[in-house]
């Protein structure tokens, strides 16, 4: 029992350490007092103020659009990469390919952001594309980051899917494309959906890479939040933080459920 108590205590301390700042942030978003972190009774006024703040709403809508586009692109690219890693055996350069796909997972965001900025600038001076920097370059940068996560998720899902399923489909008259569409795709769909949600969340969260590659017309929600903070801490910032935390949390929960559901389908 003593051991059990200790584990419970350690776990409690861990959760407090991880979650207390976030809980405080969310709790004070509902405070009526103008000074943040001073409780003045329950109120939703800061959420109302937030909804009326055109700049914030605009940034939120842009962030959602970028996240959706980046996540979709990431699923296409990362899905194809995961497929190649899981199904094409030991092709030439496989080790390097795998390492490069995973690089954004371990590289500091500052490095990823800076190198992408240099790439976009160099590309524009050579080919004229992409024209300037803004929402589109942020989308491309986030797709790069997201593709790494999708590739890992899809590869591991494919690795545990019996390869003879595709062969059985072909044996029964399905062309490779039909076998993919009717057998492989339904089986990896949860991984693709989870990968999409992960990439969407990453894009919605990111401020470092976006700060590097964005331009005048590309202020995302985290960038707007950061800018607001620099002008001073108001409960409005708390409210925005609360919205982001809850949205992202819900998204990650869905992704976790999708990935855990894999066991039940067989």
């Amino acid at each position: 029992m003593r051991r059990g108590h200790f584990v419970a205590l350690a776990m409690g301390a861990g959760y407090v350490f991880l979650w207390l700042p976030i809980i405080l942030l969310v709790a004070y978003a509902f405070s009526a007092d103008r000074i943040p972190f001073q409780w003045g009774g329950f109120s939703l006024q800061w959420f109302v103020a937030l909804a009326a703040n055109e700049r914030v709403v605009e940034a939120a809508l842009l962030s959602l659009r970028i996240a959706a586009g980046a996540a979709t692109l990431a699923v296409l690219l990362g899905g194809a990469a995961g497929w190649a890693l899981a199904r094409y055996g030991r092709f030439r350069g496989r080790a390097i390919f795998g390492a490069l796909i995973g690089a954004p997972l371990v590289l500091p965001e500052v490095v990823t952001g800076l190198s992408l900025l240099l790439l976009f600038v160099a590309l524009e001076s050579m080919t004229g594309w992409p024209e300037g920097r803004g929402a589109f370059t942020v989308l491309l940068a986030h797709a790069t980051l997201g593709a790494a996560f999708v590739a890992v998720v899809v590869q591991s899902r494919l690795a545990e899917t019996d390869r003879s399923l595709e062969e059985a489909a072909m044996d029964l008259g399905a062309t490779p494309f039909t076998a993919f569409r009717t057998v492989t795709l339904p089986l990896i769909a949860p991984a693709l959906a989870a990968g999409w949600l992960l990439a969407f969340t990453l894009s919605l969260d990111d401020v470092v890479i976006a700060s590097f590659v964005s331009g005048p017309q590309g202020t995302t929600l985290p960038m707007a939040l950061f800018a607001m903070l620099r002008r001073g801490l108001t409960p409005e910032v708390n409210a925005l933080g609360a919205v982001v935390v809850l949205g992202v949390g819900a998204m990650l929960a869905v992704a976790a459920l999708l990935l855990r559901g894999r066991g039940d389908s067989r």
Partner: protein, 362 residues
């Protein structure tokens, strides 16, 4: 005792041209030679077993028949037409996978209907054929179940129904009984044979289990190192193995080394000389169940002295390990009806009939 089997008994196919002919098929994987200029004929409607250990090339041959591997050289003829380059989805050949490979996201009925839908069979006919196929394997009423709700034996039947519903002329089975527990194997084996007779399709089965091959197949080919070591009816290859490898692989026969000279075979390790042995014989095979134990001093021809080293009771017989005077260790199956087996350490005579001595040429 193997189940009584039927069908042609020689290495050549009797009657019309073979359904499937493999001619000089060679396949390499890197430095490994998986199949070495292999020739094989499968007759229409026969049950054929490819028997071999791991690395014998049996699975590679099956995958070449299904179209999942392309031979490096050689021809594969189905009804006389070369199909070596035809992709699996265009071959009138179906395969049952060792893992069964049931689609986990589809119901039993949708699994069985998969091939018919790919072939564009009308909806009503598909339904009727799926129901008939499920009834044939004894799974009527299981339509809506998902594969993970079935037992191992039921999954195997769904896999069979999914292949047979396509009415293939040739059905390939990769270790069809391998994933079943011992109690279910015998019954499923009989059912496989019944299905094969009922559908009239040729079955080609890959197995590493010699009992399974002998019990089920009309003809067996024993593979070793990418070549066919011997082929023929189960009884023929069991009783007359051609080489040391086949003799050891099928029923673990005793193999005696020695030298043939002047129509006799002198085996120093057995301490015996065998007569009427053809020239070119390099070893002899003796089945454990064909050897008899006599008390020492018995006056009979075809005997050699030895000592009982160990004994294991197996139900209907006792397996004796006899150390011969020349050093060879012989396995002798001592039947229960022959009385109590000799004690460990007892001196005995091992006796055989001249007819049961099988000369091996390699």
């Amino acid at each position: 005792m193997p189940i009584q089997t039927f069908g042609p008994s020689g290495p050549t196919v009797i009657g019309p041209a073979a359904l499937l002919q493999a001619k000089a098929i060679t396949k390499r994987f890197g430095a490994t030679l998986a199949l070495d200029a292999l020739d094989l004929d499968i007759a229409d409607g026969e049950f054929f077993a490819l028997l071999g250990g791991s690395g014998s090339g049996k699975s590679t041959l099956l995958r070449i028949m299904a179209g999942f591997e392309t031979p490096d050289s050689g021809r594969l003829l189905l009804d006389g037409a070369d199909i070596a380059a035809t992709p699996p989805w265009a071959r009138p050949v179906n395969m049952m996978f060792q893992s069964y490979a049931l689609f986990p996201h589809l119901s039993v009925a949708d699994n069985v209907a998969y091939g018919l839908r790919r072939a564009g069979v009308a909806k009503a006919e598909t339904g009727a054929r799926v129901a008939a196929a499920l009834a044939m394997v004894g799974l009527a009423g299981f339509d809506r179940r998902k594969p993970h709700q079935l037992s191992g034996g039921q999954r195997q039947r769904v896999a069979l129904a999914r292949s047979l519903v396509m009415r293939p002329r040739l059905l390939l089975l990769d270790e069809p009984l391998g994933a079943l527990d011992a109690g279910l194997r015998e019954r499923t084996g009989f059912e496989l044979r019944a299905l094969q007779r009922e559908t009239g399709a040729a079955f080609v089965m890959v197995t590493h289990d010699q009992e399974e091959a002998l019990a089920l197949a009309d003809r067996v080919a024993v593979l070793d190192g990418g070549r066919i070591a011997q082929r023929g009816a189960p009884r023929a290859i069991y009783e007359r193995p051609a080489s040391r490898f086949v003799a050891r692989f099928l029923g673990a026969a005793n193999v005696l080394e020695g030298r043939a000279a002047d129509g006799a075979f002198d085996s120093a390790e057995a301490g015996a000389t065998f007569t009427d042995i053809p020239a070119g014989t390099v070893a002899l095979a003796l089945r454990p169940e064909r050897l008899r134990i006599l008390p020492p001093g018995a006056d009979e021809p075809n005997t050699a002295p030895g000592t009982v080293e160990d004994a294991a009771f197996r139900g209907d017989d006792t397996l004796l390990l006899i150390r011969m005077a020349g050093g060879a260790l012989l396995r002798v199956a001592h039947a229960e009806e022959d009385g109590a087996p000799p004690e460990r350490g007892a001196a005995v005579l091992v006796a055989w009939d001249a007819d049961d001595v099988v000369p091996l040429a390699s």
